[in-house]
Amino acid sequence: MTCDQVRPRLADYAVGALRGRERARLLNHVGACASCGAELEALERTGALVSRLSLESAPTGAWEAICHRIRDEGGGSARRGWGRALAMAGVALAVLIVALITFLPTLQRESGSPVMPQADEDIQLTMEAHLAAVWSAPLADAAAVGLHLGSVEDDS
């Protein structure tokens, strides 16, 4: 291997990305070439330098804030059961509310509200056209593109 071939791969070697023959050939070259050897050492020293940085601790009071939130939402194994039951009830009602929110605009559209922002309308129509083209392109994953199309439509 020449220096021109080895140089671009030195960093890959330094991070352990090279395997097998390529790794062996690079090592052979580095062993015989002072310049590439020096560069590899420099890359390794760079890594060591960065590794000496220590982690930064989160500001004090962060755990208290977290604890407050999780206890509010129902921490502890006994409360998990209750939390889950409440959540299920919440979900059922949530589905109802989402349905209301979804259909209210449809019902109200004749009276002029809500109206999709221009940007979203642009995106929805162009995405639909684009996905139709993707569908027709080679190697199209029809099932996934169809799912994607269904998602775009749902945004209307």
């Binding site: 960093a11 760079t46 220590s54 982690l55 989160a58 962060a62 755990w63 409360r79």
Partner: protein
């Protein structure tokens, strides 16, 4: 560490407090490397742990916890960036000292040495911040937190080969940017 996660998973807030104590610095540092403002990083760190608590019962393998936790953090950062509330990219021209973490570089010497190390720390962080976000994240997880490539791959949702590629490109860029310090280290050895 896995035992603590298992205990936390069964609903113990005390165990989760221990989980927080073990992993908070890694998560906060990772998020701080991605967003510019420490306050936002602190807020996202809190959200990360709250969300982890909420989802913990669904985590099958306690051993995958660290990568999983970082995945939550990465997704929250991505949401913030997409919402426009945070900027991810930091161009070289915008680098300042303001948000450089006050993390020490391991030092053996006295005050003079500490001042030198402080400057070195600032330069290394500055160099780190000049990297693209994906490379930066990989470097923080690998070099500062000691996460193996497979865990980083899980955290980032990419293949291990991609992680190594990011680490390699980051290494090259850092080598150039920190060349005077790298040479200085060689002379000191």
């Amino acid at each position: 560490m896995q035992a603590v996660v298992v205990q936390a998973r069964s609903g113990s807030v005390e165990a989760f407090a221990e989980v927080y104590r073990i992993y908070q610095a890694g998560v906060y540092t990772f998020i701080l490397s991605q967003v510019r403002e420490p306050e936002l990083a602190a807020d996202l760190t809190q959200q990360t742990f709250v969300r982890a608590w909420e989802s913990l019962h669904g985590l099958r393998q306690a051993g995958a916890f660290r990568g999983w936790l970082h995945r939550i953090a990465a997704n929250l950062v991505r949401d913030e960036v997409k919402s426009g509330r945070a900027r991810l990219e930091v161009t070289v021209g915008q680098l300042t000292d303001d948000n450089t973490p006050q993390t020490p570089i391991a030092t053996d010497g006295g005050p003079e040495d500490a001042a030198l190390r402080s400057e070195l720390r600032r330069q290394v962080w500055s160099a780190l911040k000049s990297l693209p976000a994906e490379q930066r994240g990989a470097v923080v997880m690998h070099h500062l937190e000691g996460m193996p490539v497979s865990e980083i791959a899980q955290a980032m949702g990419v293949r291990p080969g991609t992680v190594m590629s990011r680490l390699a490109r980051a290494r090259e860029a850092l080598r150039k940017r920190l060349s005077q310090y790298v040479e200085a280290e060689a002379r000191d050895m």
